[in-house]
Symmetry: C2
Subunit: 341 residues, 2 copies
């Protein structure tokens, strides 16, 4: 291996060092930063490669190295903090406790306010930016020339060249249906929010695929689009049970819809989970964890999304170019889908 393997036009990156030393980027990072377990011979090889390439760790890495702290800005438009606070926590944890501070700014969906916050964060010398969308639809990339790396989370950037870390909502819809089928259900309806939301459409796509794969059709032959609220869950349930009394499971596009469904089924004398199963989406514990019965729900793993975004941002600050990723959801099972023996 020779120095000529390194592209000449840009400063060497951690990836170049790793390649030259014949180790993974993660191992090279650990060796240089003195974190984690690395064999002594490996560490020496990495440090020699770094010296050969005149590799200068960037500001954030130097900060971590010297015990000083880095700072990352998180820009959100999440008026309740319900999505962005777990993502913030995950991103901080990705760097190790007390290594990095994430500063959250709320743009409230307003482009001018967003621009103002970005300027404030950049003028305070943040090392990178995480942008959290308020819904999963693609959003425009940040305006202007941003001098630090940016990672988009929850909502992807509309520019495919940007780095976006999102939840696999199609997969989430599939998981929900597969779980209901596992519980012995065959006549499954789907009540969800506004069709204008990418999240609603993606979950319908996954649900439909899973039903088709099992040789089943959605009860009513269509999803019931409406709103994300409890009252829609109640109204749609009355309609479905009246028109399709054979229904034995309902997949809900949100936990709030799920609460409405549980309420209406109790009024209708349909026992959950005895004769009908209900699964929500979001795993919003304030809504799902203390209902009657407690609500099974699909979880988008927001904290993990934040952790991956933090790691990718760190790599980008470090000069490598991470790829966008779509991460799997999981089912958190509670009483509302428990098969009754």
């Amino acid at each position: 291996m020779t120095e000529s393997e390194v592209p000449a036009k840009r400063p060497p990156t951690l990836t170049d060092v790793a390649k030259l030393a014949g180790v993974s980027v993660a191992t090279a990072s650990k060796a240089i930063n003195g974190r984690g377990e690395v064999r002594a011979t490996t560490r020496v090889r990495v440090l020699e490669a770094a010296e050969l390439l005149s590799f200068a760790p960037n500001a954030l890495a130097r900060g971590l190295l010297s015990g000083r702290t880095g700072t990352v800005g998180l820009l959100t438009s999440d008026l309740e903090g319900r999505f962005s606070i777990p993502i913030l926590m995950g991103a901080e944890d990705a760097f190790g406790a007390g290594q990095v501070s994430v500063f959250l700014c709320d743009a409230r969906g307003d482009a001018i306010r967003e621009k103002h916050h970005v300027q404030a964060l950049l003028s305070r010398r943040v090392d990178g930016l995480i942008v959290v969308g308020s819904r999963t639809d693609p959003r425009p990339p940040l305006a202007g020339n941003i001098a630090v790396p940016v990672v988009y989370v929850y909502a992807p950037s509309a520019d495919p060249k940007d780095i976006s870390i999102t939840a696999d909502n199609v997969g989430g819809g599939r998981l929900a249906i597969e779980h209901l089928i596992s519980c012995g259900r065959r006549n499954i309806a789907h009540i969800t929010g506004e069709a204008g939301f990418q999240a609603a459409r993606d979950r319908v796509e996954g649900a439909t695929a899973a039903l088709t794969a099992a040789g089943l059709r959605m009860v009513g032959d269509r999803p019931y689009f409406g709103s994300w609220e409890e009252s829609w869950g109640r109204a749609a349930t009355h309609m479905i049970v009246e028109q399709h009394p054979e229904v034995d499971a309902i997949f809900c596009g949100s936990d709030q819809i799920g609460r409405g469904v549980l309420d209406a089924l109790r009024d209708l004398g349909r026992e959950v989970p005895g004769t009908i199963s209900v699964i929500g989406f979001d795993n919003w514990e304030a809504i799902s964890a203390d209902s009657r019965p407690r609500l099974t729900s699909v979880d988008m793993n927001l904290k993990h999304l934040g952790a991956v975004a933090g790691k990718r941002l760190f790599e980008a600050i470090d000069g490598t170019v991470p790829r966008s990723e779509e991460l799997p959801c999981r089912v958190v099972m509670r009483e509302s889908t428990m098969p009754v023996g």
Copy 2:
């Protein structure tokens, strides 16, 4: 008026300028910063007073004056962002749209993480700090020597010399009972969270005072302390209705308890609001606004708390010493307490 009216030992403040010009601090601020409507003669008088006193607006004020932006740190331990995001929005709005960015850091109730975030914020040259507690119990003041002004919101600092902006929870309990009495109720029970919370005890104090003032006693002769969850609301309701069938209203210490109460009353065949009224606390819209019936609730005006904290922080940055304040709650009336004619 003479220059001798100004204390000699410290730089002149906006309050001094206002006093000398014979106007309010707010008017002096508007005149100097060129914001809001101020009569030309008043503006001249204020600017003359400022010149006479060699008044130098501080960094934040100068920033506002010149169109540059100030930055305030908000330190929270609110794992859901439910309290801190509205407070953040209120604080930003107090400065005028796009004037100030508030950077939120989440300490997660951990003193070491808190110290780390404070250092990160201070090293990024924030002009002041807002500290938001996760419950209303007094909290220890920030450790170390903080070089910028600090305002505590929601939870007061345990040090009475600090500036704390809190919601009047005693008053909130009083308002809830007075509202139920206005709706014609006489036999009022109170179901609330853990007695270890200051918020629970304060609301009991206010509720008891309002009942006593009306010549009434709490049903069961005591509050029902338990947890803040729905399941406690359900369990306590069954117990109260069985032991005290005359109960015609329930004041709940949280909206989640309120949801459990509504559920249990429906099971028991007690019609809300026909034969019994229910009021919650928090006005958490995801919980209260789409229940059946929709839940009347006491609102702590978190956004307003944030706005007042922002204003007081601005004054403190400006060199004046604001006082702590306890701000009133309000009742947001919905169907669950509507008198039925």
